[in-house]
């Protein structure tokens, strides 16, 4: 009985350490990444990045290519016409 208890206890400890070093470690990494995603510094980082991109964009002569400009123009006209239709009803 005594030997059995020792074996069970040892097996449990070894299993726990093995689990922590493998699966537990991976879970911890994923948890850390998720926590960091909505952390204050990450939000600040994204804000800074957006600011930086806007700054860089305003410095350029043309922001979007002529093809994209046409596409956006058509898209806005389409939305406008649909809104007008809705108001006339």
């Amino acid at each position: 009985m005594k030997l059995f208890i020792y074996k069970i206890f040892t097996a449990f400890i070894l299993f726990f350490i093995l689990y922590k070093l493998t699966i537990g470690h991976t879970i911890r990494l994923v948890e850390e990444k998720i926590t960091n995603l909505n952390s204050k510094e990450n939000v600040e980082y994204i804000k800074d990045k957006i600011r930086e991109e806007i700054k860089n964009g305003t410095k350029k002569e043309t922001l979007i290519s002529s093809e994209d400009a046409k596409l956006l123009n058509n898209f806005l006209i389409k939305i406008q016409s649909e809104l007008k239709k809705l108001n006339n009803k």
């Binding site: 030997l3 926590t35 600040e44």
Partner: protein
Amino acid sequence: MENKFYNKSYNKFLIFILFFVIGLAIYDDYGFNIDEKFHRSNGFYWLNYIAEFFNLEQLAHLSKEKLINIKGFTLSPIEHFNKYAIIFDVPAAIIEVLFKLELPVDYYQMRHFLVFFYFYVGLIFFYKILFNRFKKDSLALIGVVLLFLTPRILGDSFQNLKDIVFLTFVIITSFWYFKTIDNFNKRNIILFSLFSAISISIRMFAVFFPISFIIFCLLSLKNENYKKKINHIVFHIITCVIFLILIWPLLWENTLESFLSYFEILGQYFGAKVLFLNNYYNSTALPYSYLPVWIFISTPILHLIIFFLGFSIMSARFFGRFINIKSNQIYNDFWRGTNEKKDFFILFNFIAIFLGIIFLNIKLYNSWRIAYFLYFFIIYIGIFYINIILIKLKNINLSYNFILKFIFFLFILLTAIRIIIYHPYQSLYFNMLTPNKIKNSVEVDYTGLSAIRFLNDIVVENPNKSVVKIGVASWYPLSRMIELLDSKDISKIEIVSNKKNSSSDYIYTIGISEVDKNLYKKYEIPINFTKHKELVIDGAIIYEVYKKK
């Protein structure tokens, strides 16, 4: 060196007197710890509570007055964070009242000396515990010298009001555990319970004492003694709970609810990021390497060598015992005699606590100060190795014996020299093997010990300025240190908020941040500032000062 005027037994008195004199000579050299103000308020909060509880009106009034005057917008509200032990804070508050200490420098330096006094008592018990185990005066003294010459412990013994006090009580409790091994009677169990309770009230880590007491009792259960052992286990648990309630006023009312509230608060402490090897981590999700790396880089080489050798021999011995356990044997399964039982107690607890901290996500921050009590186990295991070497040395030739002893004392001397180099910043010690790159990729002056030096330098540097504006590019409340300046200089210093750093005259940084500085540029130095000076010790940057162009 033995004659009719001098006896070898005087050595211990000489060493202890020397350590006391050193403490007395240098205790006022140290900077001030960020936590000291909070602990002062904790002391007066509980002194007031105790005085009111026992209807001591004058004391209640005095302590209330002192408590009201402890202010600071960055200070944690004591009514909410009132879970700390009183074993240091209340005696310190009583001394402050008794000696009518009114100046901040005076009452904080009194606390510095008091922590050293606690540590000194710890050293005495460390001597007693080593003498109890090894029965050799010289070996016990070597252990005491090694503990005293542990730079981070020595440095902290003049300003760390929590971890050093805890280390002391861990040593005292272990001593009484050893006494229960020698003589399993009620007197020793009561004293062991008392000190276990005090240690638990300081840090919950200390529950390992009752737990290991129970495990060790169960491991030595035999048919003929099981009733006595079970009775003693129950007796220990009951006395431990009673003492815990008695020495922790938090538990005097609504005991269970108050005890549970302690755990709620634990989660609220330190929600910041921890810098470790240039990456920022949540304090509950540190890499497994955090504690081993910190121990490796901040412990003197001599301590590391003897610990690793002692640990290998001790582990091999108990592993051998473990694999040879038979279902029926005369001896105990894990030890032969009381000395081996004591060694097993140390090894078992060291491994359990070490792995527990690593794998159970125990919050660590500010280097590894929370686990500094592990130094007790580290040095004990080192002394275990020295004991083995000394036994072996008896059988080898004299010259080899001399060389080994010479190398050992050379290492001791080297450690002492490095302690002098770091003075008074031994708390920020790194060993010789640690490259500067590593030193500056972890938290160094996390309690702002250097702040008072910086403020005094600024005052000297600007004798004619009526106001000097200082910004702080670190997660550190520099404003707490202003009261420690000369009264004529206090009005001279104005601390500006982090957002207004660019309008200040100087910016002080100790590199500590609660957010990931790689992502959030909260503590970035404004472009109109240049580096003015820095304090670097042994390659580790303690602080940097920037000045407006």
